[in-house]
Amino acid sequence: MAEATKSAAFLREYETVFLVKPDLTDDNVDKVKEKVRGIVGREGGKFLRFTIWGKKKTMYPVAKQPRAIYLHAHYLGKPALVAEIERNLRNFDEVSRYMSKKLGEHVDPETRQPQDDLKLAGDVDDNKPFGGAEREDFNADVDGSYDDDITPA
């Protein structure tokens, strides 16, 4: 009996990355954040950390936009919580894409403390058109790195 109640206290660790439209103001981004945080609280989960990766260029147009704001949520919860979060994200007009991933099982919520939200700068040169510069340096890096692994004929 004691075993059963003990195992019920353990939660799973999840992360969800989602993309919101690039024209959203900081206030609106915060609103989305608070909604997600609210869902985690409501469903008996524990929210650990929000990281805003900032506005980044996407490698292909997402929702007809060349850029998107990336948000990363890290939380503990039960499987139903993920379904609930994803259902809500689907309904938010601002959210264009999302993906959740399980990071660990049997996590004791007491051992994890919530951390302050983090905000990263995102891409700095925001004026360049999509597909130009970042593809070039993408190629350059790949070339430099795996060439020496290929056996010369």
Binding site: L19, M59, M99, F138, N139, Y146, D149, T151
Partner: protein, 102 residues
Amino acid sequence: MEKNYEKSGKGGDRGERGDKGDGDEKRGGRGFARRKVCRFCADKKIIVDFKDQSTLKYFVTERGKIIPRRISGNCSKHQRAIAKAVKQARGLALIPYLVLAA
């Protein structure tokens, strides 16, 4: 995150040496190849993560295709992890599905 792979790889570092386990370094009579070591096995600190664009792009071609194990030198365990991570990163537009020829 590391846990995921620990769990799935029962054999530990079994796949590290690649296809030819006996360390046969001669290939098709065309010179000698340096034996490639899986970089994730060599350095346990590096973790396969779909969020880590800079690591993942070493494992895709400039066209956006996943580089085969035979060339990248990954062990099978980590190649599976890489393939999965690349596909997840593609879904979030962190890595392209394909790059058209200029």
